[in-house]
Homo-oligomer: 571 residues x 2
């Protein structure tokens, strides 16, 4: 491609609203343009990168035996009612009515559509297992679309769905996808970790892993072991602990004492005004668990993990009580709740239970109790692990490692759905004995446009993007120093011709621009190999520079050709 003919509008500065590096660079390198909040057009270079991603994904999906299909974006609301998700999905589901006033959703995911398809087509175990995938536009009306393609409202996704007779079959299908995801993200040049995760809205009884690209901009926190392969989302992360004996009456600790703590509602305020460490504080939060109030106590330096809490309580809905309810339950203003003297059950985290002499709210505005003893000054209704892991916690998987925290971008997720959808929507098959059984399902997603952003978050320097080889929009960038120099332009055109003949994809900067402008653009768009055709072209000498290296090499045009084909062949 000749650059003079390419719609490649580079920008010296990124628009100020672009916070994420990937968003800034993708705008500056002319890959994308915003049409509306969270909705983007892909310009030619961006479209090329997206197509390379699609190719990698198709190749790896096909290798697993998965079959490509294509399902509609417009989905009848009735299907979503059958699965029970039409109301539950909330405002992220884009809804519309057709000219006959029939309700539709724009698919954010396709469990309903594919379950509907398969209940019509599958009736015997002989037709199983089967895995289907599609590459398709998805819609999700994010409350706060941001970071460019990282959190968009219309985006490209690969979603796959497996159908099996048994859980063993699902495990096999799941493992195949898990391995394919490994290959896909590796080919994309991503540094990533598969982590244990929570099932969230899609639901399902089995396990689930998220594939996390490591990046500071990531909105998820990952707990990963310093020693073994263990990694989990913070919400799911467990840790190693030794169960210590609870306190008993005989412990030699000072008496309970009520102290005046005006306006000290937050942990940091207490730490500052009383000069005590936060791990001596018993933080008390009030939740409605399936509509019934409970008090929850964790250490002041810990955070409640609602998923663990819900698990311990066997509750399906959990939310913090509102201010009025809090004040009614405690008789005090917000910030002074404590476990002593409450008429509701008190749930205590293991770590909090070990606090020997704690500080806790007195259920009286502007007062706290000092020297609180857990299980003695108040009764423990339930004891368990209900906090987030913290850095330094022991790894739950090995005996040596400790947990460290990383930020990650979720680029893919694999789910064992089990029978959640097949039971709700009556998708069954006859097994070898003629017994009617629900199909065992799995689902597997990759946010393709998000992968593109994640790759840029990991591959850039001050000058611009540095595309991994398999994703680069072009493989070689030829930059003649002067468009007015006939010798240079002729040498450049010749090289362009021979590279194309060798099957290499080349961008030739034939624009009549200053050399500085051309080099800046070249670094910005980040094609892995650059050939500069300068004054020495008259003597047959060209300059080859890899985007990831500092130094250029002086080579003859034959050497250049050999170096490039070798570079791409060996990768």
């Amino acid at each position: 491609m000749r650059q003079s003919q390419l719609l490649l509008p580079t920008l010296r500065e990124a628009p100020s609203e672009a916070e994420a590096v990937s968003h800034q660079l993708m705008l500056r390198a002319g890959l994308i343009r915003q049409l509306a909040a969270g909705i983007y057009t892909y310009l030619p270079l961006g479209r090329r990168v997206l197509r390379r991603l699609e190719t990698i994904i198709r190749e790896e999906m096909d290798k697993t035996g998965a079959q490509e299909i294509w399902m509609p974006a417009m989905q009848p609301a009735d299907l979503w009612r059958q699965s029970g998700r039409y109301e539950r999905y909330g405002p992220e589901l884009v809804r519309l009515r057709d000219r006959h006033d029939r309700e539709f959703a724009l698919g954010p995911t396709h469990e309903e559509v594919i379950t509907d398809l398969m209940r019509g087509e599958i009736n015997s175990y002989r037709q199983l297992p089967s895995t289907l995938y599609q590459i398709q536009t998805k819609f999700r009306d994010e409350k706060r679309p941001r970071y460019g393609l990282l959190r968009g409202r219309e985006f490209l996704m690969k979603d796959a769905y497996s159908f099996d007779e048994s859980w063993e079959g699902l495990n096999t299908s799941y493992d195949k996808m898990y391995e394919a995801y490994h290959r896909i993200f590796s080919r994309c040049g991503l540094r990533f970790r598969p982590v244990e995760a929570d099932a969230g809205t899609i639901g399902g009884e089995g396990g689930t892993h998220e594939f996390m690209a490591l990046a500071d901009i990531g909105e998820d926190t990952i707990a990963a072991c310093t020693h073994c392969q263990y990694a989990a989302n913070l919400e799911k992360a467990s840790y190693r602990f030794v169960e210590l004996p609870l306190q008993n009456e005989t412990s030699d600790i000072a008496e309970l004492e009520k102290i005046y703590t005006p306006n000290a509602r937050k942990i940091e305020e207490l730490v500052q005004s009383l000069n005590i460490p936060s791990d001596h504080i018993l933080k008390t939060l009030l939740f409605q668990a399936d509509g019934k109030p409970v008090a929850v106590v964790v250490r002041g330096d810990h955070e409640v993990n609602e998923i663990k809490l819900a698990g311990l309580l066997k509750a399906s809905e959990l939310e913090l009580v509102d201010q009025a309810t809090a004040e009614q339950l405690t008789g005090a203003k917000l910030g002074f709740a404590g476990p002593i003297g409450l008429s509701i059950p008190v749930i205590v985290d293991y770590a909090a239970a070990q606090v020997q002499s704690g500080l806790a709210g007195a259920n009286e505005t502007d007062f706290h109790w000092k020297n609180v003893r857990v299980g003695i000054h108040f009764q423990i209704a339930l004891l368990g692990d209900i906090r987030n892991a913290v850095p330094g916690d022991g790894c739950p998987n090995c005996t040596e490692g400790q947990l460290q925290m990383y930020r990650g971008i979720e680029v893919g997720q694999v789910f064992k759905l089990g029978t959640k959808y097949s039971e709700a929507m009556n998708a069954s098959f006859l097994d070898a004995e003629g017994v009617d059984k629900p199909i065992i399902m799995g689902c597997y997603g990759i946010g393709i446009s998000r992968v593109m952003s994640a790759v840029v978050e990991q591959h850039y320097d001050e000058q611009g993007i540095r595309w991994p080889l398999e994703l680069a929009p072009y493989q070689v960038h030829i930059v003649p120093v002067s468009a007015k120099d006939e010798t240079q332009m002729k040498a450049a055109a010749e090289l362009y011709g021979s590279l194309i003949a060798a099957g290499i994809e080349v961008l030739l900067d034939d624009r009549d621009e200053r050399a500085g402008v051309k080099f800046k653009d070249s670094d910005l768009i980040g094609i892995p190999v650059r050939i500069v055709v300068g004054r020495q072209a008259a003597e047959g000498v060209l300059e080859l520079k890899y985007r990831h290296e500092k130094e250029a090499q002086q080579l003859s045009s034959e050497e250049v050709l050999a170096a490039i084909t070798n570079f791409y062949r060996s990768k």
Copy 2:
């Protein structure tokens, strides 16, 4: 691919609601399944055909120098208001509101989005010309979705947009696309005609051609010359005529006579009850032309062409008057309007003006005038070509041919938009003299999913589909007669392996089904080459049958391999 693992649910019978042959066959051959009216899922075979179409289109678009981009489906309503189309487009535009109550349209086409993009990126003539295309899902809320993919509500389209400095530039861009369309539809194996067409909703000042696949199910009528290349949509078709002198007072014709014609309102009723040929009747219709009533007279065997009529009247809106207005203007019940004695202008078609002694409504219920003489018994306000062409009309382009009528499916359209969108949305550039000018635009669409249907409409027999070579989901179908015969299955697997090694895409029917079932399925799905591995496989003899031929050939496995590679190489 092994067929036992492929989701390929063939049907013996098509669902009764499928009227079009292509719809029936695509359901029966397991290519598509309906999700909602006009909304389909593409199963694996259908997805493969669609991808082949995408590949052909991409290759031919890229050859023209057009650049692929990707624009969003969700488009802000504000953009559509800027072009003036948000209201005008009517109920076919799918509309929705996001969670912040902002209005969006789901793109049925992308003129607004791309004009918005280009007004931001183009500012100099140096950046022109440029042609951009995308392959993307479109939404159109058809009143009556039908015929499977032929008239759907969610469908795949290729749309391209050209941007030029001048009309000469546009003509060049247009011609390139026109030629690319020729190549694309030829590669798809379609019998098609490019026809002159009317600009319709998309509008534009230049010309437009529709590419029509010839098929009886087609909803459009094409007038094409028996002799030269002339072809046009019926609505646009002109014809050759010799202007004859009008009648004069001295013609020797019987006196005007009022006759009693109870309940004879329609042409056929008059023909039958009075026993006169329809071309002796002067048919009178009443229109509102930009709100002003006019009477329009054509011959009884002709149809008014509203586009020609609007052109003659220079009217932008034209519609038949309602019953009450008709009765008020004529003083008679509907069906008895005539040109004599009306107080509104009478517009007359050339052919009607030649009627020597006509029959016309008397503007009196149950009465007609006999022996009406045009221009003598009533005044002609305007005379012109305002009728549809009819079979046998002379070709307007050559002196020898006559027009014949065909039915066609519109598979593509090329448009010279001119400045319609660039002026409305202020997309301009500075020319070489520094003068600010609107960009001259063209737009070019191909209904990809509709092409798939059109191909099937043209390529089938009683047994099923006969895919053109470039579109076939697989290139070769291997069918062992008995899955229980080890020799056959081994020979089949060996051939499968060697064909795949030779780069041929193969489907192997490894199902344990009766031979008859397998052959029926094979004919139905229509892969161009079938290899039957039967009893003679033990002696190394296989049977090769082309889907388009009746007779099979007995060949050795080496000969089979050579025949297949040769067959696909030579095409």
